[in-house]
């Protein structure tokens, strides 16, 4: 149980750290030195990668997880919603890139918060079943 809490706190810490870490981009890259845009993309990519790993983990271990139908149910919820969550975050990113207003920034942050929350929920299922 303690390890569950540690893992969840560690994940939350890592997700928050992403936003705080300064970035130096090699010259000539696709971001053309735009560290703000790179950090936004990174903030979308990180929780998305976790959700993708979660559904893959559930898919690969479904037979073993037969006694834990709530995990498959949670994975199915992510399968249903993650494309919408992630594509919304990318759409908000695109809107903020085109027009960096406070409103667009707030909308982007809200979409990232949804992704992070889903990641923490998925982490909880993995932690609870890896003890």
């Amino acid at each position: 149980m303690k390890r569950n809490i540690v893992y969840t706190i560690l994940l939350a810490f890592c997700l928050s750290l992403i936003a705080c870490t300064s970035t130096k981009l090699a010259p000539g890259g696709v971001y053309q030195g735009d560290t703000v845009l790179y950090d936004i993309d990174y903030s979308i990519d990180m929780p998305s990668a976790f959700l993708h790993l979660f559904v893959k983990w559930e898919y690969d271990n479904r037979a073993l997880l037969a006694k834990k139908p709530e995990i498959t149910k949670a994975a199915d919820e992510i399968r249903k919603n993650a494309p919408k969550w992630e594509q919304t975050a990318v759409a908000m990113r695109d809107a903020y890139k085109r027009n960096p207003t406070d409103d667009n920034k707030s909308a982007l942050e809200a979409s990232l918060a949804v992704l992070r929350q889903a990641t923490l929920e998925a982490a909880k299922y993995i932690n609870d079943n890896s003890q």
Partner: protein
């Protein structure tokens, strides 16, 4: 939980944390994000935008596709 189930799940969880820690380490430790790493990140964002990131069998609802055979 059976010992083999425990081992399989523990391995899966550790694998996920290992992959994520590599991503985080890249961000924290790198003095400079390489051109290749920048291109890879943008490609992943493009895959989300286009929907290609959700095309694998693991993205089908559990009722739609049988799971892979467990060894």
């Amino acid at each position: 939980m059976e010992p083999l189930e425990f081992i399989a799940m523990a391995n899966a969880a550790l694998s996920i944390y290992e992959k994520l820690s590599k991503i985080i380490a890249e961000k924290i430790a790198a003095g400079e994000i390489s051109i290749d790493a920048q291109a890879q990140l943008q490609a992943r964002i493009d895959a989300i935008r286009s929907g290609k990131a959700f095309e694998g069998p693991e993205w089908k609802q559990s009722t739609e596709v049988p799971p892979p055979t467990q060894e």
